[in-house]
Amino acid sequence: MTHDPGFLTTMLLILVSAAVTDNILLTRFLGMCSFIAISREVKTSVGLGVAVCFTTTCTAGLNSLLYHYALLPLSRMVPPGYDHAILSLQLLLFIVVIAGFVQIVEMIVERYSPKLYFALGIYLPLITVNCAILGVCLFMVNKGYGVLQSVAFGFGSGLGWLMAIVLMAGIQDKVQHSRVPAALRGPGITLIVSGIMALAFMGFTGIIRI
């Protein structure tokens, strides 16, 4: 990769657009289950958000390596017309890598930082099944990003998810003390609030164009 003047700018643009204008949670509605379930307290949502952000960054990098250095070369080796068959394995491989990575990270955190383990580690198993992580990995392929760009994209998306869930936890704090109609309490009002948040985030669209 050449470090032309545009490189850092491109990276920054990818990062910011992933976090804000293309927020994976609010524009794609991925990772909703934990978003709705764990957004009652700011403290726990920060924990989960940081864990998600860390995982998206690392798995985007790992999966991008796997894509560029294993899947793509192999798809060129097979007879023409079959390359899609090989490329379609990305879904399977990305999930396996995410699950394995999360397990190993959990063990490392448990071993070397019990404090961090009890703060974040308990969320890690939850992350394996968070579709936002897989979404990030599949989108980066669709967008045609290189390895470093993918890492930036992963980090930006994770940051966006973190931002959205922490904002939601802050709003939930207010919602708890307001008079919500009985039928809408819990997930109902959370979904409405996230819809309004999504509208607000849509305001950012058009600021960045890449």
Binding site: L71, L74, Y82, L92, I104, R111, I122
Partner: protein, 372 residues
Amino acid sequence: MNAEAIKVVLISVGLVAGVSVALGALIVAAERYLLNYGTCKLDVNGGKKVLEVAGGKSLLSTLMEEGIFIPSACGGRGSCGYCKLKVKAGGGPVLPTETPYLSKQEIADGVRLSCQVKVRNDIAVEIPEHLFAVSSFRGRVSRIADMTHDIKLLRIELIEPETITFRPGQYVQLQTPAYGDVKEPVYRAYSVASPPHDNRAIELIIRLAPGGICTTWVFTILKEGDEVQFNGPYGEFVLSDSDAEMFWIAGGSGMAPFWGLVRHMKETGIRRKTTYFFGAVSKRDLFLLDELKSLEKEMENFTFVPCLSSPQQSDEWKGEVGLVTQIFDRKVEANSSAEAYLCGSAGMIDASVKAIQTKGIPKEKIFYDKFN
């Protein structure tokens, strides 16, 4: 299929398998090196026992390996809540998997589920004294006898250790090994039906629970001569030290603790006035009738009252007819100084407790062992 397609399939399979195997190997290696906590000090009851244990396992299984048995019905999966212990130091924060089983007071007192606490460093715990008597036993089934159409008596001669010390009324946990669809050993609690002086063996009275993992195994797979494992004794369902008159009420396999108790009383010369009400549907649900009748003759203060709720014509039943609670109500006079001991299904016990209280026996004098 043509050769090209086969090549694609082989490459795909190889790639997925390769990545999975590589990750699997990494995880195994990580488990080996990362989850190795070395030796940790395990302090039991403020320095009474200090054990050097290998870290990395749950507190429950670590204690089990050291020969200290904590009651656990689910086998350490955090779903029964029996394995509670006070952890004085080194247990880490209470985990979300434990909170459903702990009250606020228990959390404040440092009570934890020992199957969820991992030994990562030096740890100090408090264990009730009576659990030290608990150990694991290996024995051989010497007799499986049909008591009724759905109740069997199991006699297990001890191999290792050779003798057992317990108080009549206590229970053991019988291990059901993996069989059929049951992939892991399962433990189920059964009252000891033999008296303590018969200390080279134990007897269990087991009723077939349709679909039950352990009872199905006992009824269909277990044979005389098989080796089995159990641990115990556990439980606080034992005779009080008083001389008060006693009423016993049991149904079905609730016979077990009383069958041990009555023989223990005869052997040790306990002469407390005792009336034993045993409830069954018809004659085919009655068992140990002759044995108990002859004990009644030999022991002057012991009376056995079998009650049938709906005897068949062919039973030619001359004894009491009605629910065990009705017979109790009819035969027993108000007596506030007596004690009551109950063993059987939850429904029978709840109904009996009500009937007993109408006789003026206070709640704290009613002892029971509910079978679920």
